[in-house]
């Protein structure tokens, strides 16, 4: 693990002063919220950050958690794959196809056949990871004997983005910039 980190040219560790302390003393609230709740992006009042130790950021509200879908909705065993877009569409996958969950209803967004057309082999593609950009376009890392990142601008529409050698996680920075992990790093 440590050698893996060295390849990222990591220079050193930085001590973190935890804000999530469960200490019982009620510290005063920060005067400026460093979390972006009421501050401009990037604006941090260091004195407030360092002096105050709230259990949660100011203005943080308690979120209610509810189950919104279960296995009956998908009808298949899901993989460790999840993304959500600005329109509250949630994407999951069983490794062969991609489902979209929207308005309480799930449907097949991309099928194995949709993906297979972009691989020059008959093997069924395996979906390894996906992410969604700010406009709701999906990016999928899929593998047969080869690997590729595919763009999904709409249901069942697949566009080849790039041939790749990566095999791990995938995330979108911008529509023309993705990050992925591999056996050999990020």
């Amino acid at each position: 693990m440590r050698s893996s980190m060295s390849s990222l040219r990591l220079l050193g560790f930085v001590a973190i002063v935890s804000w999530a302390s469960a200490c019982s003393d009620k510290a005063r609230a920060p005067t400026v919220d460093p979390w972006g709740f009421d501050a401009a992006p990037g604006a941090v009042a260091d004195s407030a950050v360092d002096d105050a130790k709230p259990t949660v950021p100011a203005a943080e509200t308690i979120l209610a958690i509810t189950r919104v879908a279960d296995a009956k909705v998908w009808g298949t065993q899901l993989e460790r794959i999840l993304a959500a877009d600005k329109n509250e569409r949630v994407f999951v996958s069983d490794g062969k196809s991609i489902f979209v969950f929207e308005g309480g209803v799930a449907s097949r967004y991309v099928t194995s056949e949709d993906l297979q057309a972009h691989f020059a082999v008959t093997a069924e593609p395996r979906i390894l990871a996906l992410d969604v950009d700010a406009d709701g376009k999906l990016y999928v890392l899929a593998s047969t004997t080869k690997r590729a990142v595919l763009e999904i601008p709409a249901a069942h529409e697949v566009v080849r983005f790039a041939d790749v050698s990566v095999f791990g996680r995938l995330t979108v920075v911008s529509p023309d910039r993705l990050l992925a992990t591999d056996y050999d790093g990020l």
């Binding site: 990591l10 935890s18 469960a22 972006g36 009956k72 979108v172």
Partner: protein
């Protein structure tokens, strides 16, 4: 980087190029940095995150995602959700804090009888402030949002 083959490998990026990453093995830390070649750094160690343990028993960095509302990141630590601030302190360290939920992930994992609770459950968030978690083994999707 060696491939660790750990089930909890997590990666997410913000639109400004800042990424969050955890190799995903037990005890691994939460890393972050810009994808421009600047060296990444530890944002929070799993040991540091254990400070929420008195209330939430146990933490394990299980997944992460961008925070579209506040600009930082969100991390599923199995028994809770941690919010990573977008901006660092003057010393370069990044504040983080527990996102309060009702029920807690710990309690929900118990009442829902999830085999691994929220261990390695992927997390996603939307601009509305909703946070989604997928207990993929059971095929259950959960939504955390303002009541």
């Amino acid at each position: 980087m060696k491939y660790t083959n750990c089930g909890g490998e997590a990666l997410s990026a913000r639109s400004d190029g800042f990424f969050h990453f955890s190799p995903g093995c037990n005890g691994d830390d939460m890393w972050g940095g810009f994808s421009d070649g600047t060296p990444a750094k530890v944002l929070a160690t799993e040991e540091q995150l254990q400070v929420i343990a008195p209330k939430y028993e146990f933490v394990s960095i299980s997944s992460c995602t961008r925070d579209p509302v506040h600009g930082g990141g969100l991390v599923n630590v199995e028994t809770g959700i941690v919010r990573l601030a977008k901006a660092p302190r003057s010393d370069g360290s990044y504040p983080w804090a527990l996102v309060p939920t009702k029920p807690t992930l710990r309690d929900l994992g118990e009442t829902e009888a999830l085999r691994q609770r929220f261990h390695n459950a992927p997390i996603a968030a939307t601009p509305s402030g909703a946070i989604y978690l997928l207990a993929y083994e059971e095929g259950r999707l959960y939504r955390a949002a303002k009541p």
